[in-house]
């Protein structure tokens, strides 16, 4: 039983200061008992002599200098875990909020995790088929990868995430267990409800652990939410050998919570007021994806973030892009043209796909098709820019065929129904058929043998 400290010295935003404390360690957690009988939780963020600075997860509303008793717990923040967490709903700080009682705990783990030794990692190679052509063919998702969705307010990232969860199928070894950990940070009530309903409809709810911190919940709890979720994911993956897909939405709200917290601590801000350690902080979350030696499980992350003002150079998408292994960028123009999923192909990228596709994983010609589609679609942008100046009629025959290819590519390849689940063969064959719209001399990334096998303008006639 630890000491209890009566009263406080100072309150500032979510931070409280206790004086004359003894034997308090950095990062340990505390319970703050209010006189009205409620209990709040806090964590030590600084110790200096006998002065302790605590952050209060639930906020400092109603706390005065005299109405509290603070009890130090002597341990860093831990989360109780067992396989039962699947199918349950938790608050942002990892407490069950679905009224089904506490978790019968098999193991408690520090939510901050520990850095993974690079030597112990296994390089991720197996792909996850999502059934979405633009992802499977062009930005293939690999087991153990962190592949964020860069979106904007009002775009269909939620729908896309749900479709990925519903259709995600781990290649080869069927029968391995697959589960989803879903962390909502600062999302609207409706959005959280949309996810819950969608998981229920597609019958995956019993395989989902949800961590909800809604937009009106305290911001300190928001900083803990992804950590709790990833701790649960690591436990399931590395101790229970399951394949875990973690969806973190929305990272922008998380970063804003961090900014708010940092400024109330009086730290020196970096770019756009975000703390200088935003990169390291993001890394401590994103790097918790991977595959480790000696375990058959994996943690795959799909963080979703909304780019403020659709600006990809904003610190949040920018720093995320530097840590994650690629990105899927959604585009407002495509969305307005009714293309779903509105994935902007050119800035999207999957860094790990080169080693997880081709012979033995997807299909031998995958690399060639995806490279050629990328290169040709990049040419489409040049042709369009030119057409907007000199008019489409004035274009050369080659440029005209690019214009046509571009339209058809968006209409038949990128666009697909929210319940449409394409196999990898369907996707790649569709890619070849679309490439056949172009003159054969334009396909400079394809070898002669493949051309004679796959290139056939007859196949392209059906695109209208």
């Amino acid at each position: 039983m630890g000491l209890q400290y009566i009263g406080l010295k100072e309150i500032n935003g979510p931070l409280i200061v206790i004086d004359k404390a003894k034997d308090v360690s950095f990062d340990e957690i505390a319970e703050i008992h209010l006189d009205d009988g409620t209990i709040r939780n806090g964590r030590v963020v600084e110790v200096s002599g006998d002065k302790v600075v605590l952050q209060v997860f639930e906020g400092t509303k109603g706390i005065s200098l005299t109405n509290t008793r603070t009890r130090m717990m002597g341990i860093p923040m831990e989360m109780p875990l067992s396989k039962e967490i699947l199918g349950r709903v938790f608050s942002g700080s990892g407490r069950p909020i679905d009224g089904l009682g506490e978790i019968y705990c098999e193991k408690s783990m520090d939510i901050n995790g520990k850095p993974l030794n690079p030597v112990s990692r296994t390089y991720p190679r197996n792909y996850i088929r999502t059934g979405i052509s633009s992802i499977d063919c062009l930005t293939t998702l690999i087991r153990g990868q962190k592949l964020p969705i860069f979106s904007g307010s009002g775009l269909s990232h939620d729908k896309l995430a749900v479709q990925i969860v519903r259709q995600a199928e781990i290649a080869e070894e069927k029968g391995e267990e697959f589960a989803v950990v879903f962390a909502a940070m600062g999302v609207k009530n409706d959005v959280a409800d949309y996810f819950r309903r969608s998981f229920e409809e597609s019958g995956v709810l019993s395989r989902v652990a949800m961590f909800l911190n809604l937009s009106n919940d305290p911001i300190i709890e928001r900083i803990l939410t992804p950590r709790c979720a990833l701790t649960a994911a690591e436990y399931l993956a590395y101790e229970k050998n399951m394949h875990i897909l973690v969806i973190l939405t929305d990272m922008t709200s998380y970063a804003e919570a961090l900014r708010e917290f940092s400024s109330s601590k009086g730290e020196i801000p970096g770019r756009k007021g975000y703390p200088g350690y935003l990169y390291s902080d993001f890394a401590s979350l994103y790097e918790r994806a991977g595959v480790i030696e000696g375990s058959t499980g994996s943690v795959t992350q799909i963080p979703i973030l909304t780019m403020p003002n659709d600006d990809i150079t904003h610190p949040v998408p920018d720093l995320t892009g530097y840590i994650t292994e690629g990105q899927i960028v959604l585009d407002r123009n495509l969305d307005q043209m009714g293309v779903y999923p509105p994935i902007s192909i050119l800035p999207s990228l999957s860094r790990l796909m080169k080693d997880g596709i081709g012979e033995g994983y997807t299909r031998a010609d995958h690399t060639v098709v995806s490279n050629q589609l990328f290169a040709s679609y990049a040419r489409v942008q040049d042709a369009r820019a030119l057409a907007s100046v000199i008019g489409e009629d004035e274009l050369s025959e080659t440029d005209k065929s690019y214009m046509r290819f571009g339209t058809m590519f968006e209409k038949y390849f990128i666009t697909q129904g929210i319940y449409e689940n394409r196999t990898i063969d369907q996707t790649l064959d569709l890619g070849w058929e679309l490439l056949s719209l172009l003159p054969v001399s334009e396909l400079d990334r394809v070898s002669e043998e493949l051309l004679s096998e796959k290139y056939n303008p007859e196949n392209a006639k059906k695109f209208k």
Partner: protein, 584 residues
């Protein structure tokens, strides 16, 4: 009196009222003995940055000084190893603490059990000075390790062991200094990481670091002992470029510093380098590589130190007379670590929150590169190739701008090239190298006297194309006269056939200088012949129909690296085909 922790704020720990510590002294913090370094002292507080997570640290826990600055252990066993930012071997850490790195893990840097086949190079009674080689042993099948007298030590050898098998801590000789102190010599020594190792003199830079990457070797060459920066936004292929250089450049030893980058990338380096065979020696690439991995989720203070650890290891091998290339991926993460620590110290920030001493730290780092005459009269070099990750792909940010001032080769990676999957996405217009003039004689002796002339011609075509593209963007290419269309067509051949290089193609991943030279020759021949034909009123479309342009684009795949005589056939084919056009 025992010193103890007064305050903890993330990685910054303070001690109150002590005068026991020196600046940059290495200390052990707390009951877990976390490794830290003294970074600030005043009469009230001594400030320490801790290289590990401080979770659970309490005021009152003891702090013990080590009496020496943060040092690297130098000796045989460094090569083919993988270390964290403060030179702890990661494989050993895995054995001792599992897949996740625990705090306070103390393991010895080098393998203390491994026995090396040592040959002694000195005799009793020899007078030796700093830098002299007293013993050698084969460290890997590729590299012979030479043990040198520590730079500031000199004296007389009073005892020498027999040749034979020794571990790194065994005494192999004894040295008596001028004041009579007897110092045992083992196979290893320590050196403070923030201090450059001394050399006899700095030599001029005039040798090319051959990388086998056409756009680098030809357009923006890097010299041995030089410095280069590779800036680029995310997804432009910085890491890929660094990997290609690490695999193929003709340095003897590669020090690869993964500083604040992705864990999976380090795993990839480990796996790939383990499988790859060095084309020159036929041995494994890992035999000449040291990896320093301080990934982005490992403690930030150790990230700051990793750069210095890396360059200290490089300088040590340079002193033996080897040529070293350092890949630092990425220096921006290191600068961010400086910013983070500076913020915790509540220093006054300069631009974008970076500390005001950022430029001086960057220059200190890059100036440790160079082509040197070592203390033992060998020649060795350290080449630094640093990746820069500018925020928002904006090259005007402080790290890129300051780096630009201290490097002489700037390989700017371009987002739009990367989007169209043109790799390596090095923009030939905005990149530059100041080494061209220094390397003039090298090219003339090793490749051909015309090399730089060809290079200039290729460059001119690319610049001209860049200007023409402004017009094409406005009115389309159809209205251009045929000779300008030819420039655009030849530039396309250069871009696709020469600048673009496929890292996954067995021949194209590394291209010897001779082939690069021949490729330029053939492209320029095609230009000359086609120009000639156009002056004889042959339409460019007619020339294009011969398929010669496409054929020249594919030479990078169709002519293998060891069959350069095929170029002669192709050249005469070009001449004959075009000649037949206007003769008909």
């Amino acid at each position: 009196m025992q010193n103890s922790v007064y305050s903890v704020n993330g990685p910054v720990v303070k001690i109150k009222d002590t005068k026991d510590f020196a600046m940059l002294e290495m200390v052990y913090v707390g009951d877990k003995k976390l490794i830290g370094e003294v970074i600030g002292i005043n009469d009230k507080f001594t400030t320490i940055q801790v290289y590990e997570s401080t979770t659970g640290l309490k005021p009152g826990e003891p702090i013990i000084g080590s009496g020496s600055p943060m040092s690297a252990t130098l000796g045989p066993g460094i090569l083919s190893n993988i270390f964290d930012g403060i030179e702890r071997p990661l494989r050993k850490l895995q054995e001792s603490s599992g897949a996740f790195i625990a705090e306070g893990s103390v393991v010895s840097t080098l393998d203390e059990e491994r026995q090396f086949d040592v040959t002694l190079k000195i005799n009793t009674g020899d007078i030796v000075k700093g830098g002299d080689i007293y013993a050698t042993c084969p460290e890997t099948p590729l590299i012979e390790h030479k043990c040198m007298i520590s730079p500031y030590l000199s004296g007389k050898i009073i005892w020498v062991a027999e040749n034979g098998k020794y571990t790194i801590n065994d005494k192999v000789a004894e040295l008596e200094t001028d004041d009579g102190t007897v110092i045992p010599l083992t196979l290893c020594q320590k050196w403070p990481i923030r201090q450059a190792r001394p050399v006899k003199e700095r030599l001029s830079i005039n040798k090319l670091l051959v990388t086998g990457q056409r756009v680098i070797d030809t357009i923006c060459p890097i010299a041995k002992g030089g410095t280069a920066a590779v800036p680029g936004g995310f997804g432009t292929g910085k890491t890929m470029t660094q990997h290609q250089l690490a695999k193929w450049c003709d340095a003897d030893i590669i020090v690869y510093i993964g500083c604040g980058e992705r864990g999976n990338e380090m795993t990839q380096v480990l796996e790939e380098f383990g499988e790859l065979i060095d084309p020159k020696s036929g041995k494994h690439l890992t035999d000449r590589t040291v990896l320093i991995a301080n990934t982005s989720n490992m403690p930030v203070a150790a990230r700051e130190a990793s750069i210095y650890t890396g360059i200290t290891l490089a300088e040590y091998y340079r002193d033996m007379g080897y040529h070293i290339a350092i890949m630092a991926d990425s220096t921006s993460r290191w600068a961010e670590a400086l910013r983070e620590i500076s913020g915790r110290l509540e220093e006054m920030p300069a631009e974008e929150g970076f500390p005001a001493y950022l430029p001086s730290r960057l220059s200190e780092f890059y100036e440790r590169a160079g082509y040197m005459k070592t203390l033992n009269d060998n020649e060795g070099s350290v080449t630094i190739i640093g990746a820069v990750s500018p925020q928002g792909s904006d090259f005007s940010e402080p790290v890129t701008q300051n780096t630009k001032r201290f490097v002489r080769c700037f390989l700017a990676l371009d987002k739009s090239l990367a989007y169209s999957r043109h790799y390596p996405a090095i923009n030939w217009i905005t990149s530059y190298s100041e080494y061209i003039d220094d390397l003039k004689d090298f090219y003339a002796e090793n490749v051909g006297i015309e090399f730089l002339e060809y290079r200039q011609k290729i460059n001119n075509i690319l610049v001209e194309e860049n200007n023409l593209m402004e017009i094409v963007k406005l009115i389309g290419s159809d209205v251009l006269p045929d000779d300008q269309k030819l420039t655009i067509e030849i530039a396309r051949v250069i871009r696709l056939g020469f600048l673009q290089q496929n890292a996954y193609h067995k021949d194209d991943t590394y291209v010897p200088l001779e082939k690069q030279f021949k490729m330029m020759e053939t492209i320029l021949l095609l230009q000359k012949e086609a120009k000639n034909a156009i002056s004889k009123n042959i339409a460019i479309s007619t020339i294009a129909e011969t398929g010669l342009f496409e054929k020249v684009i594919k030479i990078k795949y169709n002519i293998s690296n060891d069959n350069l005589s095929a170029f002669d056939e192709l050249n005469s084919e070009i001449k004959n085909t075009i000649f037949s056009l206007y003769r008909a």
